[in-house]
Symmetry: C2
Subunit: 397 residues, 2 copies
C-alpha cells in the first residue's frame, strides 16, 4: 500500500451526467491509500493558476450527493496544453509533490494528459498520469463505450419516445438535432425505445455518412406519405459529400473553441434551416425543429443506472489498477465482440498513446445508410447501456 | 346508475405527459356505468369526419400502459368549431345517440365545448358536455393548477437544475427558452430545484411583465460580474411594453394556427437572437441558447407522480360528478388560499362558461419584477406539484 502520496484529480472537456461518479470512486479508493487528495479547479487550467482544493474531508453523505450531481464538480476547461502550458503544469506539480494525476475526460483531455506525461518523463519526474474516460459522444477508441454515454443516450431515447407519441397526436414533420460532432452514437440512440415499425424516429442521420439535402427531402416525403407524419433524428455534425460540416455552410458567423472545434450546440440554426427546407420543398404546414441542447449531458434525475454504476466503478478501478501498475495509462471498458450475449462489462487498461486524440466513429455494421436507420446490432449494443427504468407504453389506435 | 348510455371521449389541443391518465380514468368509470364508450380520433375533427373507435374492450394491462404513455392516444386537433362546424358535430352526435361528451383539453378546447353545448341546447338535444382540463401552460381560470402542468414543470425544473451544474463546470451565459404563450408558470418552474442563492436560473422572464432588451442586458451583466456565469429562463411569450410578442418582432415569416396563435415553439429563433444580443453587447464569449421544445410536454418516464395521480383522478371524478349532476360542466381543482399548508387538492365543478376561452396568468404575488425572479409564494405553490422523485445534489467547491 503506498504511503504519504500526493495525488491530483481534475475534470476536463464537456461534462456528463455521471462524471462525478468517477470522481467519487477515485476519492473513496485514494482515501484507502491514505493519499493526500488534491483537486484542481477547471481542469488543467486550475493547475497553472494554482487553483486547488483538498478533497480528503468530504463526508460520506456529501459523496452520495456528489455522485448524483450532473456537471463537473471541480469545474472543467476547454484548454489544450501546448509545450509552454505543459512546462507550467510540470513546475506546479513538482512543487506540490504530486506523483499521481487522474484526469477525467474525453479524447481531447487524454491528449492533454499524454503531453504532460511525456513532458514529465523528459524531465525525469515521476508522475503517473491516469486517464479516466468520460464522453457523451462515445467516441473513444479501444473502448466498448464510455461512461457518460449511457445517460445521454437514455435522455435522447426518452425524448424521442415522447416525441413519437406527441407527433402521433398532432401529425407533421419533427426534426430533432442531437449532439455529436464526429460520431453518430448519440443520434442513433434516438431509436432505442421504438416499439412498432411505425414508431419514430423514421429517419436517422449521422456524421459518418454524407448528408445530401435532396435525399433528405425525398426520404421525408416517402415516410410522410406512408404514415402521415415523419420524425427525424439528425446529428449536429452532419457533413456533405466533401466532408464539410453542414452547419458551417449555413452559419453566417462561426465560433471556434481552442481545439479548433466549431460551435454546434447552443444554437437552433441547423434545425431551423432544415425545417424551412422541408416546408418549402414539400409544402407540409406543420414542420417543427428542436435542437436538443445541453440537457443531453446534464438533465437531473434521469441518468442510466448502469452508466452511474460503471462510472463509479471505473473511478474505483482506476485507483486499484494504478496501485498495481506504476505506469501511466487510460482505463477503459473492453470492446464486446457479440452484442446479443448477456451484458457483462470488463475494465481494461490501455496505453495513453493508443487513446489520445483519436476518434472512434460508428462502425458500419451499426448503420444502414440505404434505410437511414440503425441496425439490430446497434440496438443490441446500445440497449443494456441505458438501463431498464422505463414505463411500458402503448398506442391504442 | 345510468343504463345503455352512449358516451364519447375526445382529446384536444397540445398533448401533455398525463392526458391519457384522464382518458383511462373516464374509461374505467364509464365501464362501471355500463356505457358504450366511443372515442373520436383527433378531437372534434374526428366527429365531423366520422372517425370513431370503441374503447370498451381495452384490457386492464393496456390501460396501465396507456396511463404511462405521453401524447393524446386518441389524437388531437387544433380545430376550433364555428357555428357550421357545430352543426356538423350535432348531426353526428345525434345520429350516434351520444348523450355525454367528455372533451379533455385546455381553454381553447373548453371553448369548443361551450359552443357545442350551447348549440345542442338550442336544438333541444340532451347532451351533457364535460370538460376535463389539461394544459402544460397552467392557464385555466378557477383552477389551482391543471393536470399536465406538474409534469412539464418537473421537466423544466430538472433541466435547469442540470444546466445549473453544467454551467458551473464551464462558465458562461445560458439562455433557456421555455414554452408558455401567455402565462409564465412553466418558465417560473425553472426555479424549483435551486438550493443555493448562487444557483441558477438567476433571471426569470415571463410574459406577464414587459420585456426590455436594455434591462435584460444590464441584469445579465450584474449577475455575470457577481458569479462569473448567468443562467436565464425566458418564456417564449415575452412581450414588449406595447404588448407585442418579442418573437413577432424578430421573425421574418410568422406562422399562425387556426386560433390565430403565432407559432412560438419548434424554432430556435428567439433564443439565438437573445444570445447574439448578449454576445455583441457584453463581449462574453461563451453564450449559449437552448429552446426547450416539445419534450417539455412529452418526455417519457419522468412525469410527476402527483400529476399522474391527479390526472387519473380527475378522469374518474369527471364520471362520478357527471352521474350526479346532469348539466354540462368543467371539472377542476379548487384554488388554494395558503401555499405553506399541507398539500391536499380538492376536485370541484365549474360552469363551462366561466372557464371557456379565458386565460389565467401568474398572479402578482408569484413574481418579483424588480428581481426578475419568483417569490417564495410561487415556490410553495409549485413545489408539491412536481412530486418528490429527485436525487439530492451538491456543489463541493
Amino acid at each position: 500500500m503506498p504511503n504519504n502520496n500526493n495525488i491530483l484529480i481534475a475534470q476536463g472537456g464537456g461534462p456528463t451526467n455521471v462524471i462525478n461518479q468517477s470522481l467519487a470512486g477515485i476519492i473513496i479508493n485514494e482515501k484507502k491509500n491514505k493519499s493526500k487528495i488534491f483537486g484542481s479547479l477547471n481542469g488543467v487550467n486550475g493547475i497553472i493558476n494554482n487553483n486547488f482544493v483538498t478533497l480528503n474531508n468530504i463526508l460520506p453523505d456529501e459523496i452520495t450527493m456528489l455522485r448524483n450531481t450532473p456537471g463537473a464538480a471541480l469545474g472543467s476547461t476547454r484548454d489544450k496544453p501546448d509545450q509552454k502550458y505543459c512546462e507550467e503544469i510540470y513546475n506546479v506539480l513538482k512543487k506540490k509533490k504530486i506523483n499521481k494525476f487522474y484526469y477525467i475526460g474525453g479524447n481531447d483531455s487524454s491528449d492533454s494528459l499524454r503531453i504532460i506525461s511525456q513532458y514529465s518523463k523528459e524531465k525525469n519526474y515521476s508522475l503517473q498520469c491516469i486517464h479516466v474516460p468520460k464522453t457523451i459522444d462515445n467516441d473513444l477508441v479501444l473502448n466498448d463505450h464510455t461512461p457518460g454515454f449511457g445517460s445521454a443516450a437514455k435522455y435522447v431515447a426518452q425524448l424521442f419516445s415522447g416525441i413519437n407519441f406527441d407527433v402521433r397526436s398532432l401529425p407533421g414533420v419533427y426534426i430533432g438535432v442531437v449532439m455529436g460532432r464526429h460520431a453518430g452514437f448519440l443520434t442513433a440512440s434516438s431509436s432505442i425505445l421504438r416499439n412498432k415499425s411505425s414508431d419514430g424516429p423514421h429517419i436517422i442521420l449521422i456524421p459518418e455518412f454524407s448528408f445530401n439535402i435532396k435525399d433528405f427531402i425525398t426520404s421525408i416525403k416517402s415516410v410522410f406519405n406512408k404514415y402521415g407524419r415523419c420524425i427525424i433524428a439528425v446529428s449536429e455534425g452532419i457533413k456533405n459529400k466533401n466532408n464539410i460540416l453542414y452547419s458551417k455552410k449555413i452559419q453566417s458567423s462561426s465560433e471556434y473553441d481552442d481545439h479548433g472545434n466549431i460551435q454546434l450546440s447552443g444554437s437552433g440554426m441547423l434545425g431551423d434551416f432544415l425545417a424551412n427546407e422541408v416546408k418549402n420543398k414539400l409544402k407540409i404546414s406543420r414542420v417543427r425543429a428542436d435542437t436538443l441542447g445541453y440537457s443531453q449531458r446534464c438533465f437531473l434525475g434521469s441518468a442510466s443506472e448502469i452508466d452511474q454504476k460503471e462510472a463509479f466503478q471505473i473511478g474505483l478501478k482506476a485507483v486499484s489498477f494504478s496501485n498495481a501498475n506504476k505506469n501511466s495509462f487510460s482505463i477503459g471498458i473492453e470492446e464486446r465482440k457479440f452484442f446479443s450475449k448477456k451484458y457483462n462489462p470488463k475494465f481494461i487498461v490501455n496505453k495513453l498513446i493508443d487513446i489520445a486524440g483519436k476518434t472512434k466513429i460508428m462502425p458500419g455494421k451499426f448503420y444502414n445508410s440505404k434505410k437511414f436507420d440503425v441496425t439490430n446490432d446497434f440496438l443490441n449494443y446500445c440497449r443494456p447501456l441505458i438501463g431498464k427504468k422505463f414505463p411500458r407504453t402503448t398506442s391504442i389506435v
